[in-house]
């Protein structure tokens, strides 16, 4: 296998794996505190679930970047195209923004969501604000994803 293709696959793999790990860490933290809440007030399950899924988006963003890479190198149902080492490096570097921002923003968004669970416990009518506060952290994953998409879009394979 050519180095270019290897680098592209590495980029796609990292873009999925690290944000997914971040999302899993965050979801598990929020899930644990949500479980404590719904043991007392099961009727709050819906809103707790909403707070839990929020930091899951980073995993999806990573997946999205990976799909774009796979499409670009023809690994997604098409014929594999020849990828030079230079282009491979470009693709790998293009994946870095969503890989790192996805991983870390998911973990930190999870922390805000955990605090949101206590808002939900004490003032359920203000749960919407807790959701927005948590989503504020996600902004930076969105920006990173945007940059990854724009760079990938500019790379000619």
């Amino acid at each position: 296998m050519e180095l270019g293709l290897i680098l592209a696959i590495l980029g796609a793999g990292l873009a999925v794996t690290l944000p997914c790990i971040g999302s899993a860490i965050a979801l598990s933290a929020v899930g644990r505190s949500a479980a404590g809440l719904i043991s007392e007030e099961p009727e709050k399950f819906g809103k707790a679930l909403l707070l839990q899924v929020l930091p899951g988006t980073q995993g999806i963003y990573g997946f999205l970047a990976a799909v774009l890479v796979l499409q670009q190198v023809g690994l997604f149902g098409e014929e594999i195209v020849e990828v030079s080492a230079g282009v491979g490096w470009q693709i790998l570097l293009a994946c870095i923004p969503i890989t790192l921002a996805g991983l870390l923003s998911a973990v930190f968004q999870g922390k805000v969501s955990v605090s949101g669970i206590s808002t939900l416990a004490k003032k359920p009518e203000e749960a919407g604000k807790a959701i927005i506060l948590s989503a504020m952290v996600e902004t930076y994953a969105v920006i990173a994803l945007l940059l990854t998409i724009l760079i990938l879009n500019g790379i000619t394979v």
Binding site: G46, V67, I132, A135
Partner: protein, 634 residues
């Protein structure tokens, strides 16, 4: 629009206080102000403790009977947690319900059942523990604790695998001993051993092999004890089942009990409202925020109860801010859902709902941007809105947002991730994201410009001419300069607008000091960075739109890969169909949530900051609004 409330005092005949407060509850236009020096005592509120008791009883019955209620399905429980269904009652029905003797009987029955259940449960727990301890000896049908002369008894247990080893070790010594195995438990086996008094070392041998001495004695054979305890346990479990069955029969009463929880909650609210007021021998005195223009009508109603009641407007204290009620009609009401997440504006700020409505809908559409998803969202919300009338405003919001999603989907030519409507495509987000980036940035510029205009108008209306023409006016000029530059390509127009903005900020600065005025001018230049980052924030709409579209495309691809991979005809179609349906519904739900949150954020952070601060207190009137019940007029 914002409905502002004014401060009033209400003076009325004390004997009629309950009826008066009840009428205020029914009107739903007055929020009681708690006076620190409330003078009502327990003696004045004779029924407060009985109401509290009744409320506690109803809550207990509800909690107790809920244990036997049939569990809801996952989906209906999920829907119910967001939009709880309410039973409809009129006041007469509720009043009759509260005076029903049957309710007292129900409380008594539940009390009795709960006590019995608790007793049975604790007895069962004890029996289970005792059986657990004795189980390993349950094969022993004689009592070894008989006083054998010159012999001792050792009660022990050993893991079953070591039974043979123990026997061999004891036999090796060729001394007389008697051992009886308890049986039943598989991993551990209980036993007793009778051995001559002088042969204590047998105990040591048993322990060295792994036997553990059990500090347990029986007055009767363990087999008999275990059997009796098991019989008792089984009888208790039958009785428990009977109680549960009785509990299940009573669950039919739950709707009434829940209605009474709301009813007694309102009764308690009446007592608390009075408690926060003052009194004389004959009259009570309350202060309340009443919605503007509603006090006269309410007074008319109260006068029908007694002529000795009056409502008078009061002067507001300095720095006192009245609560705020947002009231919008028809489709605009749906967008209150978005404003509601942020909270109410201050009483002297505009209601942002009508301003955000078109921008929110467009932002949501651009963030989801798939015509198929838009149609599916409309269909789902239409169906849910029909089913859950109370939440119709919420679902209407998504029907409108869905319609804009269809439009955005047609603009980008995506339909469930396919190119079905590629012919209608104006911009291609996947192959030319920069074009969409321009589009969303222009959208951002327009929304921020509108925000500034609203701010300018509002400051002007409030008499704050300096802010209106200085910072807001300057920014408006700058945005006009951008537009002029974009249409003509003439840079001097843009530079001129910046200079004009700078000058406006100096001229209309509130500071007298010329140096500080100059600083205001430079401050406005710094604001330009803020506007730039505000506009950049709209790029999230592109990223979210791409996320929806590309994941939708991936779902289609995966479905087709399954179709090709599975060789069994029919099965491949079924699997591919499942992937398509499940995948697209999940993608729609996740991305609709993201689209809602991020579109809302654009309103709260980028838009609202141009004309309001928020942080107003919501108007919470006395009202018969319940958690379980909706009061209807008959």
């Amino acid at each position: 629009m914002n409905l502002s409330a004014k401060k009033y005092e209400i003076i009325g005949l004390k004997d009629k206080s309950q009826e008066i407060i009840e009428e205020m509850q029914l009107s739903g236009v007055a929020e009681i102000i708690s006076l620190d020096e409330g003078e009502f005592t327990d003696g004045d509120l004779k029924n407060k403790s009985s109401v509290e008791l009744k409320l506690a009883e109803m809550k207990f019955v509800n909690d107790f009977l809920s244990r036997f209620e049939e569990k809801q399905g996952f989906l209906s429980a999920l829907i119910d947690s967001f939009f709880p269904t309410k039973d409809k009652y009129d006041l007469k029905q509720l009043r009759n319900l509260s005076s029903e003797k049957k309710t007292d009987e129900l409380v008594e029955s539940c009390n009795f059942l709960e006590k019995r259940l608790n007793r049975i449960d604790s007895r069962c727990e004890l029996l289970e523990r005792e059986i657990e301890e004795l189980k390993k000896f349950s094969g022993i049908s004689e009592n070894p604790f008989i006083d054998f002369e010159n012999f001792e008894v050792f009660i022990g247990s050993i893991i079953s695998d070591k039974k043979e080893e123990l026997l061999n070790a004891l036999k090796e010594k060729s001394i007389f001993f008697f051992i009886r195995w308890g049986g039943e438990e598989e991993k551990k086996n209980g036993f007793y051993m009778i051995y001559p008094q002088e042969e204590e070392r047998l105990v040591e041998i048993a322990k060295s092999v792994g036997a553990v001495q059990e500090s347990i004695t029986w007055s009767r054979p363990p087999a008999e004890i275990v059997r009796e305890k098991r019989e008792e346990l089984s009888d208790l479990k039958k009785k428990r089942e009977e109680i549960i069955e009785r509990g299940r029969e009573l669950t039919g009463e739950i709707p009434k009990v829940r209605a009474l929880i709301d009813w007694y909650g309102w009764e308690l609210e009446k007592c608390e409202a009075l408690e926060s007021g003052k009194k004389t021998e004959l009259y009570f005195y309350l202060q309340a925020w009443i919605l503007e223009g509603r006090a006269e009508k309410m007074e008319e109603k109260l006068k029908k109860i007694t002529p000795y009641v009056s409502i008078n407007e009061l002067e507001m204290r300095k720095n006192e801010s009245p609560p705020v009620l947002m009231e919008n009609k028809d489709l605009m009401e749906s967008f209150e859902v978005v404003t509601g997440v942020y909270g109410a504006p201050k009483s002297d700020e505009p209601d942002p709902t009508p301003f955000l409505a078109p921008f929110f809908a467009v932002a949501f559409g651009l963030a989801l941007s798939d015509a198929g998803y838009g149609l599916l969202l409309i269909a789902l919300c239409y169906f849910m809105g029909k089913k859950l009338e109370d939440a119709r405003a919420f679902f209407n919001l998504f029907i409108i947002a869905g319609a804009f999603t269809v439009l955005a989907g047609l603009l980008t030519g995506t339909f469930f991730g396919t190119d079905l409507f590629a012919g209608l495509r104006i911009v291609d987000a996947v192959s030319d994201p920069i074009e969409v980036l321009y589009l969303v940035s222009v959208f951002g510029l327009i929304q921020i410009f509108v925000g500034l205009l609203v701010g300018l108008f509002w400051n002007y209306k409030q008499g704050d001419i300096n802010t209106a023409l200085g910072s807001k006016g300057g920014a408006v000029v700058f945005f006009l300069g951008i537009a002029a530059f974009a249409f003509t390509g003439r840079a001097p127009l843009l530079i001129g607008s910046v200079i004009l903005m700078f000058l406006l900020n100096i001229i209309f600065s509130e500071n007298e000091n010329p140096l500080k005025r100059l600083l205001s001018g430079f401050g406005s230049l710094y604001d330009l960075i803020g506007y730039f980052s505000d506009v950049l924030s709209y790029s999230r709409l592109l990223a979210l739109g791409l996320a929806t579209g590309i994941i939708a495309m991936t779902i289609n691809m995966i479905a087709f890969i399954f179709m090709d991979m599975i060789p069994v005809a029919g099965l491949n179609v079924a699997v591919a169909g499942f992937v398509l349906v499940f995948g697209h519904v999940a993608n729609l739900l996740i991305n609709a949530l993201s689209s809602f949150i991020h579109s809302a954020r654009l309103q709260f952070v980028e838009f609202f900051s141009k004309f309001m601060e928020g942080g107003g207190r919501r108007f919470r009137p006395l009202a018969k609004k319940g958690r379980f019940v909706e009061v209807i007029k008959k």
